[in-house]
Symmetry: C2
Subunit: 259 residues, 2 copies
DNA sequence: TGATCGCATATTGTGCACAATATGCCCTGA
DNA sequence: TCAGGGCATATTGTGCACAATATGCGATCA
């Protein structure tokens, strides 16, 4: 998810089962479906995913490196407990990076790009007017990704996507579950400044926009989601991931070919 | 080096030998002392560093994740061969990120911070006037790090340091070995705009500054450094690292004042 | 002579068994 | 009843042996 495609070179045909496990776990974590603090035991995950412990181990350490898990040397891997301080850090980083993006984009966007962004913004407004909250939230997030893509910098895009991922994990815990979408007027303000090439105003708009989102986070500590047994949650996610995977010739031939 | 301190939680006393190996390899790679394309064989490194192959293996994969090595699944780890395209990507990313930093900093710097930056700039100018090239290069790079630290965002700081690291690897290969330091007038221009709170001008200064550095890279492919036997080079680096480790009782003196 | 196939070898990948470590429980003593 | 220490156990860390894979070289044939 974070760097599945941009990271290692698994471009050619490979048993991507390890990659699939990583995606599954990352997606589950990012959706906030696991209670913070719960330990992910290697052997347990190994039998859930039907692989050896070493495989799980590598994935766990990688997720720790990506800050989605807290991995403590001789203790294990735990679901990260996001704090409001961390949230502030993430939003500050987004202000800087996304401010840099619009600062680079101001006055350099092609007419086609501006049109595409305007069209996206219009879709946002329509979804909002129709009260379609799920679509509205998705489109609001995509606006920022779209902006990052316009910058055409793979390195910055990767970094921003990691920040956005962690943002989504945050809102899963702190958001009051009401009005979590961006106000699309703010997006339009950014767009207007960009089209005019007004660098200063574009950046200021982006800064205040992100700050407004940040203030919506509430410091409640209790986890708002059901959070049943982590085992069941992971089993379900794994089954879905495998189902979504196209038939790659072999479904689950984990220990078939042996001596 | 890239995320040695900010990454895993090895805060308490640990046999940091694995971490030390990572630092040693990273530093050697970053300095460009290894010819691009040379393979780093696990068993060979294992006996050089006096550890088991698995240790080396982990470090190698980590360096691959950090893009300092090209690690190909069933082939091995190779010293990355930087291309001019990659160089362009890195400098574009730095324009965006560092543009974001100055955009965030403009008009928000304290008098003390401005004074510190001005003092640093003065040191740069003095070193340049005295013809002290080594010091001059180091100070020029530190100016950018200093700016990033003023932004007080650990996430952005980490990202930028990775970019700066890769930049230093690039110049080791492409730089014509003459006048590789930043022109300190450009730094002063950025500083002036920052002090005045002129966001647009600060960003523009930063953009042109980085672009100017980028144009100094020459597309020669031959490696300019001696590049003796990689074995000897690594043995030397390892011995130096172990020697330096002896006296380092606590933390490295690289960290400055935090918040 | 040149191209191709097959084998030998060097290198990476992985499962397994065991070691190291932390945690929680129970037992003891006042 | 509670504090403290030691043992049992659950979990992670690591070395090793073997399997899988790619590469290079040489033999063979047209």
């Amino acid at each position: 998810m974070t760097d599945a495609s941009a990271g290692m070179r698994y471009s050619h045909a490979m048993p991507a089962t390890e990659e699939l496990i990583h995606q599954t776990l990352a997606k589950t974590l990012l959706a906030g479906r696991l209670a913070p603090g719960t330990q992910l035991v290697e052997t347990r995950l190994a039998e859930i995913f039907g692989v050896t412990r070493e495989r799980v181990r590598k994935v766990l350490h990688r997720l720790g490196h990506e800050r989605l898990l807290d991995v403590v040397p001789n203790r294990g891997a735990f679901v990260a407990s996001p704090t409001l301080d961390q949230a502030r850090e993430i939003y500050e980083a987004r202000r800087i990076v996304e401010g840099g993006i619009v600062g680079r984009l101001a006055g350099r966007l092609s007419a086609a790009q501006i049109a595409a962004l305007r069209a996206h913004s219009a879709r946002e407004k329509q979804a909002l007017r129709q009260g379609d909250r799920a679509v509205s939230i998705r489109l609001s997030g995509e606006f920022h990704s779209l902006l990052a893509e316009c910058a055409a910098s793979p390195l910055v895009l990767r970094q921003l996507q990691e920040l956005v991922s962690r943002t989504s994990m945050l809102v899963a815990f702190f958001e009051p579950a009401a009005s979590s979408e961006c106000a699309c007027e703010e997006h339009e303000a950014i767009l207007g400044a960009l089209a005019q090439g007004d660098t200063g105003r574009a950046i200021k708009s982006m800064h205040t926009h992100l700050s407004l989102i940040e203030t919506r986070l509430t410091p409640r500590a209790a986890t708002p989601l059901p959070l049943a047994a982590p085992e069941e949650e992971l089993k379900r996610a794994w089954a879905a991931a495998q189902r979504g995977q196209r038939s790659a010739g072999k479904a689950t031939p984990r220990k078939a070919a042996k001596r």
